[in-house]
Amino acid sequence: MNKRMIMVLMCAGLVLVCLPLFAGGQKEGATSATAPVTITEMDYWTSDPGDTAMKNYIAAFQTAHPGVTVQRTSEPFVSYLSKALTMASAHSLPDILELDNPQLQAFASTGTLAALDSFTSIDKSKYYDGPLSTVIYKEHIYGLPVGNNNLAIYYNKKLLQDAGVNPPKTWDDLLADAKALTKGNTYGFAFSARAGEEASWQFEPWLWTNKGDLQTIGSAESIAALKLLVTMVQNGWASKSVTNWGQDEVEQQFENGNAAMQEMGPWMLPQLAKSKIDFGIVPIPVPQPGMAPVPALGGEVFTIPTSTPDKEKTAWTFIAWMQQPDNLIALNKAFAYIPAFIPAAQQLVQSNPLLTVFADQMKTGRARTMILGPNYPKVSEIVSSAVQAALVGTATPEAACQQAQQQIDQALKQ
């Protein structure tokens, strides 16, 4: 290794490093003399069907609004919140920010989102209450829902027929069916209880339908809801692996015939249609006949981070155009979601009757942030841990819930 070699290597290195600077570096969207506007958008649909659906929407939007260009970035879901927060702290959020609906309250509390009341007054009567409550913070509107979903029970028609049971309507039905359907490699029921939001999300329908709640997790109703799930796992009617399964693993179990019933949302319908399973859907079973199922509401919202009035106005055009029934239906069809706008929802259900149960549950479904607002994430984390502890057996449902209650009380005081 002599000096010449070192010089050559260093020159090569310099060239290597500088080359991309001359080649396609990042140039800002070309703004010419006449005022075409470029706005930036960020969402977490990195894969299909969401990815293509958004691309189509943006293409249609640009065609309908000449002069406006939308630069879209999609970031992976796992790190989306931390990315958005980092950008917020550096004041470099995009002009349009998509969020998972339980995150909107926390974001709005930081003051980074623009209140949208001045742009329009949407006809609140034409929207389902639940989704609407996700976008309202301190009586101002901070976003618009692109679509929502909730959870129901899918069942394998053949397996139920073979076992001679009917789809469950009440909790007793659910337990009896799960017991009858568990044989061989097949479990009667499958749900997701993976650490984090998924465990809370799949627990909330049972909790709320029984009139329990997160901040009153120590109440008898809440404990009873947890006992329902624990009973199924303890008796082997649902696999012990639920504490490790995400929702896509649960879906795989159902598609493989290893689970006769699953707790799942409408977004899996396109996927399930490709499998050979002959399936049916029923609402979340209720503790006593006559009660209404209260699932949690999933789905995404579009918000506008504060910036210049012009950009905010253009961004508003983008998210408002999405609420046009045709556009709303196109997007929700791709996602297999239910629009929050009731007329659009009704229209979509007519063309796809499989969505009926989910649409019906939209009326009684509840936003996760309804009571807890920005405190939802930390309470959800505590509840998720308690659910797992009870399912795994490290604590009885009573003990787990009571301990969680103490932690929640403490956390809410801080």
Binding site: L81, S82, L85, A88, S89, A106, F107, S109, T110, G111, T112, N185, R194, A195, G196, E197, S239, K240, S241, T243, N244, N258, P374, P377, K378, E381, S385, A386, Q388, A389, L391, V392, G393, T394, A395, Q403, Q407, A411, Q414
Partner: protein, 315 residues
């Protein structure tokens, strides 16, 4: 000659000082990097831990000063003790096995046999897989019903019932540790191997002429010669094991019921799941303090090796 030395002394001291300044240039780029990259975040992390940093504060950068309240809350958190215990268990067991297996492999591959170089290269391939892929693969392998590991064990009649690898708290920790050991073996092996091959063969030849056996030449030649390398491998292994995050998040998400939560994953959970950034920063700083304690121990040993006896026999 002495006269010359006296005459040269003034110019020697000037050129000596000049030499010292030039020597600093060797360090300059690194120092610049320090200043830019590390000073600010360290300072910021400490600052965040002394403020009530909720999500609004994260965005605006302003938050009320609360002194050590975050630390008090963290230390009183019921998850603190199990998390620290998990961290210790995870780290100690991982490093122990990674190091020993890495050393054994390095020793094995130092010998000349057919295919040694190829096999050694193959063992580096696990490193090339992104962690999310390796961790996901292990997650599939450990699954209760779908996993190939349970399948193997059942087929070999070593167990009669599938093991709940990722489900029961103790086995979940075992699974996570096994995965981490697998990921860390190439790191240890490469560094230790590099140190091994730098030991001249003559030392071993001399020792065998003196009648030393295999284990003896290991303890009296290899270990002293490898001392600096071994210590840095352990030190860096410790630091990086304490930072392990993706492996656990993918395998168990910290669960079930926080049984595989270690300080690094708990910091993330506090900051980005519960959105309590001040507490997350406090937990992160605790992690740094723990690492620092070990760093001090390392430096104490490293200093004696610098100033005291140099590595091993026969120089």
């Amino acid at each position: 000659m002495r006269a010359e030395a006296v005459n040269q002394r003034p110019s020697m001291s000037r050129s000596f000082r000049r030499r010292q300044r030039l020597r600093l240039l060797f360090l300059l780029p690194m120092l610049v990097e320090f200043a830019v990259v590390f000073v600010y975040p360290l300072f910021n992390n400490v600052r965040m831990s002394l403020l009530r940093y909720d999500i609004a504060a994260f965005v605006s950068g302003r938050a009320p000063f609360v002194g050590f309240e975050n630390y008090v809350n963290i230390l009183g958190n019921r998850l603190m003790e199990p998390t620290v215990i998990n961290t210790v268990v995870f780290t100690v067991v991982s490093i122990l096995f990674q190091f020993v297996i890495g050393m054994l492999l390095a020793l094995l591959f130092k010998r000349r046999f057919a295919g040694a170089q190829l096999l050694r290269t193959l063992l580096l391939i696990p490193w090339l897989l992104p962690i999310i892929v390796s961790a996901t693969t292990f997650r599939w392998m450990f699954d209760y019903t779908n996993g190939i590991i349970n399948q193997f064990l059942l087929d070999l009649h070593l167990i009669t019932h599938p093991l709940s690898w990722l489900i029961t708290p103790q086995l979940a920790m075992v699974s996570v540790i096994i995965t981490n050991i697998w990921i860390g073996i190439p790191f240890n092996m490469v560094l230790l191997y590099g140190g091994l091959v730098a030991i001249p063969d003559e030392y071993y030849e001399a020792a065998s002429i003196d009648g030393a056996s295999g284990p003896q030449s290991f303890w009296y030649i290899t270990v002293p010669a490898l001392r600096e390398v071994m210590m840095i491998v352990l030190m860096l292994g410790l630091i990086y094991t304490l930072k392990v995050f993706d492996v656990i998040m993918v395998l168990t998400g910290g669960g079930p019921a926080d049984s595989t939560q270690i300080l690094s994953t708990w910091t993330y959970s506090l900051s980005f799941r519960s959105l309590s950034f001040g507490q997350g920063a406090a937990a992160g700083n605790l992690l740094i303090v723990i690492s620092l304690v070990f760093a001090v121990i390392y430096l104490r040993f490293s200093w004696t090796s610098l100033t005291g006896a140099r590595s091993g026999g026969g120089r």
